[in-house]
């Protein structure tokens, strides 16, 4: 999480026991989750007001940092996750599946960029922008779960529409599509 430390450093020293329990409960839920858990879902599971979730996440993050843990709570892909911090990448890299996004080809990344900014979009529309066939790039992106089909466009031939996935947001460390860097150029 990119929250700066000035906020977390000023937490009250004595937190209520229930707060600590909720923090631990949050940790437990995130520990067993293999995908981002939306704040609303967390609020339901912990039986707290949705507004408290970001506070609990911040407190848990603070506690993890204080205890010199490798984990951090992050808001990514439309929800919260527990993940290892970047400085531990070299230790865990050999234990995990190769991260596909780190090895995507130029055409695949360019195609992914077009889809990310213009979704939902058809293959024809992507090809009109890139000026080349994008079939293999699209297949690669689907294989890596970075994009998925999003219904069909109501136009001639009803072509398939594509959109990015939660996995895309997680892989690119984005909370939501609004976190995408602004597209360059005057018409952006």
């Amino acid at each position: 999480m990119s929250s700066d430390s000035s906020e977390t450093d000023h937490l009250p020293d004595s937190m209520l026991a229930s707060d600590l329990t909720l923090q631990a409960a949050l940790e437990a839920v995130l520990f067993v989750s293999t995908e981002p858990v939306p704040a609303r879902e967390l609020a339901r599971l912990l039986q707290v007001d949705p507004g408290r979730v970001p506070v609990l996440a911040m407190q848990l993050n603070h506690a993890l940092a204080q205890g010199h843990h490798a984990l951090e709570v992050a808001e990514v892909g439309g929800g919260y996750v527990l993940r290892t911090r970047p400085e531990f990448a070299r230790f865990v890299d050999r234990r995990r599946e190769p991260v596909p996004t780190a090895h995507l080809s130029g055409p695949a990344l360019e195609t992914l960029a077009v889809i990310a900014y213009r979704q939902p979009i058809t293959r024809g529309e992507i090809e009109a922008i890139r000026g080349v066939s994008c079939e293999s790039a699209i297949n690669t992106l689907i294989e890596h779960h970075l994009i998925r089909e999003a219904g069909r466009k109501q136009s001639l031939g009803r072509p398939i529409l594509y959109e990015t996935t939660t996995e895309f947001l997680v892989a690119f460390n984005l909370r939501s599509l609004e976190d995408l860097p602004p597209l360059g150029g005057e018409t952006a």
Binding site: T34, V81, F172, L183
Partner: protein
């Protein structure tokens, strides 16, 4: 200011497509996208295609389409079309280069975004997440105290609805070996590389599908991605990862700029 062949050779494989090539030619000379010296750029573009041809490489059709577009623009700039009323039509339609400039500018934005994405992906790959897709929830069986008669009762409304609905129109599926190779890899990746033939592709598939799936499996074994075992009794074929399991799928389109 022609690009030398040696310079072209180095970059031959690096273009993403005709727009990318044009953009590089324009950038190399610090030309404004909205004021392209079309004759000069067309010559350079064609020189590039000739160089590619001389190296016996296949030129992707997109590059040829762009060559035609450039020549068309060049011609229109030399000889503006004369309309019925005698005035040049292109004056009304605007600069013939306009559409190309617009496409180049748009492409440039996404091309830059693509490069930015590489940095984002690299930064994002430094975080470690819980892996493994959650296992499918266990199938729900009848709860104690319920029985098949209750189940049949529950199904009744659905059955009557089925009878009312018009027969669905089905389009025949035409599986290709390539598509089957991809679906084998996809399905097996989900299963950690192991599986049984019929368990993966399902029972009761059409014969055409079975043949394509089987040929695709043989191809994957040939490529070393998978190994297969079958007992002499003719049981289901057991599939396991081969030495090349982790090798990325090669795409067969060997054309320039892909």
């Amino acid at each position: 200011m022609m690009l030398t062949t040696a310079k072209l050779q180095v970059r031959l494989e690096t273009f993403e497509g005709p727009l990318d090539l044009l953009l590089q030619l324009i950038r190399a000379q610090k030309i404004d996208i909205y004021d392209i010296p079309i004759a000069q750029i067309t010559d350079q573009y064609l020189a590039y295609l000739t160089a590619v041809e001389e190296m016996d490489l296949e030129i992707a059709s997109e590059f040829l389409v762009m060559a035609a577009t450039l020549l068309d623009i060049k011609a229109r700039m030399l000889f503006p079309r004369i309309g019925d009323k005698g005035q040049a039509e292109d004056d009304a339609a605007g600069d013939p280069r306009q559409e190309l400039s617009r496409r180049l500018a748009e492409y440039e934005r996404y091309s830059e975004a693509g490069r930015l994405f590489r940095a984002l992906a690299l930064a994002g790959s430094q975080y470690g997440y819980r892996s493994g897709r959650p296992e499918a929830p266990p199938a729900r069986f009848l709860a104690p105290g319920q029985n098949a008669a209750l189940l049949a009762l529950a199904l009744r409304p659905f059955k009557s609805r089925l009878a009312d609905s018009p027969p669905a129109e089905l389009t025949p599926e035409r599986p290709t070996i390539l598509s089957q190779i991809k679906s084998w890899l996809r399905e097996l990746r989900r299963r950690g590389g192991h599986g049984r033939f019929f368990e993966v592709i399902g029972q009761g598939r059409p014969r055409r599908y079975l043949i394509a799936a089987f040929l695709a499996l043989l191809e994957l074994v040939h490529q070393g991605r998978l190994t297969v075992v079958q007992s002499p009794r003719g049981d289901d074929i057991l599939i396991a990862p081969g030495p090349g399991w982790r090798v990325r799928l090669r795409h067969k389109q060997g054309s320039v700029g892909q």
